[in-house]
């Protein structure tokens, strides 16, 4: 039997070094036993991930077959208009939304949000293809989708990359709501009236500003933060 010269514990005959302090074993009277089995196996276990793979297959098959059958129905049976494009687009949209949950869970959240934004733009593109209107897709849909995606990306980056609390998250959330509402109204005004005059979004902006300023003050003042925490605990 060998002992660790550093820790004083007895070691297994198959051990090459002390597991506690990593001191190498050097016992001329008891060489390391290379033939006996080690106390623990060497085979690494893997988790069975049946559920997600099955769900991914089922989801892909259901969405794919729905899109295909609707396309065929539109081509050969109900040929009035290109209605199947809406369903095919919706299936593609849902499938893209499912990628991070079912198909590739290691996909970084930033990329999946970006893909979701592209999918939403694509679906609006399909509607615009059917009803081009007065350039609503380029002037209204794309800017709103872009702004929403950017704001969600910022929120995700903040959650993932920075140390945050419930209060700071709430603060960012209300700030983003204010920006989004203002942005939507600006884009609508530019599209319809070609000039900007804020109305309902100004109310949202004011309310959100009050909330953001209050939350920021609470975050900055430790005493106030503790007081709020004490009074609002549940």
């Amino acid at each position: 039997m060998s002992y660790c010269v550093n820790c004083g514990v007895e070691l297994d005959n198959t051990a090459h070094s002390c597991p506690l302090c990593h001191t190498e074993i050097n016992n001329p009277k008891q060489p390391i036993d290379l033939t006996s089995p080690t106390p623990y196996p060497r085979k690494k276990g893997e988790l069975e991930v049946l559920k997600k793979r099955d769900s991914a297959i089922v989801t892909s098959v259901v969405l794919g077959s729905t899109a295909l059958s609707c396309g065929l129905l539109n081509l050969f049976v109900f040929q009035n208009g290109r209605w199947s494009l809406y369903i095919i687009g919706a299936c593609l949209l849902l499938w893209i939304f499912c990628i991070p949950i079912l198909i590739y869970s290691k996909l970084p959240i930033f990329i999946s949000i970006f893909l979701d934004g592209i999918a939403a733009a694509m679906y609006c593109g399909i509607i615009a293809y059917q009803y081009p209107g007065k350039g609503w897709y380029q002037n209204l849909a794309i800017p709103i989708i872009l702004l929403t995606t950017i704001l969600i990306e910022i929120f995700a980056i903040y959650l993932k990359m920075f140390k945050n609390s419930i209060l700071s998250r709430a603060c960012l959330f209300f700030a983003e709501v204010a920006v989004l509402c203002s942005g939507i109204e600006i884009f609508i005004d530019l599209y319809i009236k070609h000039n900007v005059s804020l109305s309902w979004s100004a109310v949202v902006l004011t309310c959100c500003s009050i909330i953001v300023v209050t939350l920021t003050t609470i975050i900055k003042q430790t005493r106030l933060r503790n007081e709020v925490r004490r009074r609002a605990h549940f």
Binding site: C7, E10, P19, P37, P39, Y40, P41, K43, K44, L50
Partner: protein, 431 residues
């Protein structure tokens, strides 16, 4: 007769008991509510006989032959008559999380490696005491298949008898009757910081010790073995915290499950435990080891008694039976419980320590067994968990952690060595 008795005898379904409710909510890639109890035999294990023994034994334990299902408000267990579970060759990373739909929906795993039989159980099914009944009975049936005579006593149940309804009961319901409900909120404890190992790695360091020697040392301090080992773990964590040079030190708290069967008679094979938290606060000053031992000793004597434990389980039981909580849909409960556990419960302890105590087996079985080992699964935070069990004169202390560093284990075992307790170390780490 409690409600659960009626349900179980009809072989329909089981409500999850008080402790069991939490574990499925918490189960995820980075957290495992699976524990393992192993028995080291004197002879190499024969897998075909073990499989046969498992098939013969499991029907006697209906609360282990189940699948976990989701209801609208709560999860529940329903009998699982699918084929399996199958005995498997052991792996280096035990106590992996148990996906509820894998393994034919079974929530137990049986492994073999050389002379060792290991049983892994999802904590919603049973606590260590309950699982130990299954393992002892399984080993007894396995030995009988080899021609040995093993009687049905000392923890070995008769597989030809139907289960006693009391074995299937939710004993919390029967005993949670205290008029006082102590608050649960506690101060944050010191948490170990270390380098996380790659996915699904569980490092084990097992210390093998003579019970007689340990008992003599514990007697010197006038405490029990559990109190002594608790004190050594606290001592190791204090040393660890000091070595990390924190600006602000935190209390060292050990989360220790206590089996309630000792205080509230029940034959239940399901969960019937509660937690106590022996604590030392280093901010009060430097504690000598003797002072730690005294503090732990009096903490245990003060808290581990029927009255305190009853109040504790009543607090938990009242939360579950609250009318508003009962009607909240399961997915909202899941979100809330998970958040509470991560933000409050998990931060309340620096390490876990569980002691199954002296494991009782029939004399006829003793000549075939060397020792028992217990292992706790991977917790949320990168801390180390310690599990103790003894058979005859051999006591094993198994540290399980998912971090690279071994400093707490080193402080722990070197303290034992300095106290005159010889320790033999085994590990699954590549060394």
């Amino acid at each position: 007769m409690p409600k659960s008795h009626k349900k179980s005898t009809k072989d329909s379904w089981f409500e999850l008991d008080l402790s069991a409710t939490v574990y499925p909510t918490l189960q995820r890639r980075s957290f495992s509510s699976v524990y393992r109890i192993s028995a080291l035999l004197k002879e190499k294990v024969k897998p075909d006989l073990l499989q046969k023994a498992l098939e013969m034994t499991l029907p006697r334990f209906p609360t282990f032959k189940v699948a976990l299902r989701k209801g609208i408000f709560w999860r529940y267990l329903e009998p699982n008559n699918r084929p399996g579970p199958w005995v498997e060759q052991d792996i280096i990373n035990p106590c992996m999380p148990m996906p509820f739909h894998a393994n034919n929906h079974y929530l137990i795993r049986v492994y073999y490696y050389e002379n060792r039989i290991s049983l892994e159980v999802f904590h919603s099914l049973s606590d260590g005491t309950g699982a130990l009944y299954l393992l002892r009975t399984l080993i007894a049936v396995y030995l009988r298949l080899q021609g040995y005579t093993i009687p049905n006593q000392n923890g070995v149940l008769d597989i030809n008898q139907p289960p006693d309804p009391e074995e299937l009961e939710d004993a919390y319901k029967r005993y949670a009757t205290s008029k006082v409900r102590p608050p649960r909120k506690q101060e944050k404890a010191y948490r170990l910081h270390g380098t996380l190992e790659p996915f699904y790695t569980l490092n084990i360091i097992c210390g093998i010790i003579s019970v007689d020697t340990l008992l003599n040392v514990a007697k010197k301090y006038k405490v029990t073995i559990t109190e002594y080992l608790n004190s050594v773990l606290i001592y190791a964590l204090i040393q660890q915290q000091k070595s990390e040079n924190h600006r602000k030190e935190r209390p060292i708290k050990i989360a220790m499950p206590v089996s309630l069967r000792r205080f509230f008679p029940s034959k239940t094979l399901r969960n019937f435990i509660t937690m106590v938290y022996p604590t030392i606060d280093p901010r009060l000053g430097d504690y000598t080891f003797e002072e730690i031992v005294t503090q732990v000793h009096y903490y245990m004597r003060y808290h581990i008694n029927g009255k305190f434990l009853n109040a504790d389980i009543t607090t938990n039981a009242m939360t579950k039976s609250h009318p508003v909580i009962r009607i909240v849909p399961l997915f909202i409960k899941d979100l809330t419980v998970r958040s509470f556990y991560k933000r409050v419960q998990d931060l309340q302890s620096s390490a876990g320590l569980t002691n199954l105590g002296t494991i009782d087996i029939p004399e006829e079985m003793r000549e075939h067994l060397i020792r028992f080992d217990v292992l706790m699964g991977q917790p949320f935070s990168p801390r180390t968990n310690c599990a103790i069990a003894s058979l005859g004169n051999i006591l094993t202390i198994n540290f399980a952690s998912s971090i690279v560093e071994t400093s707490v284990e080193k402080f722990f075992f070197t303290k034992l060595v300095r106290d005159g307790v010889p320790v033999k170390i085994e590990t699954n780490r590549n060394n």
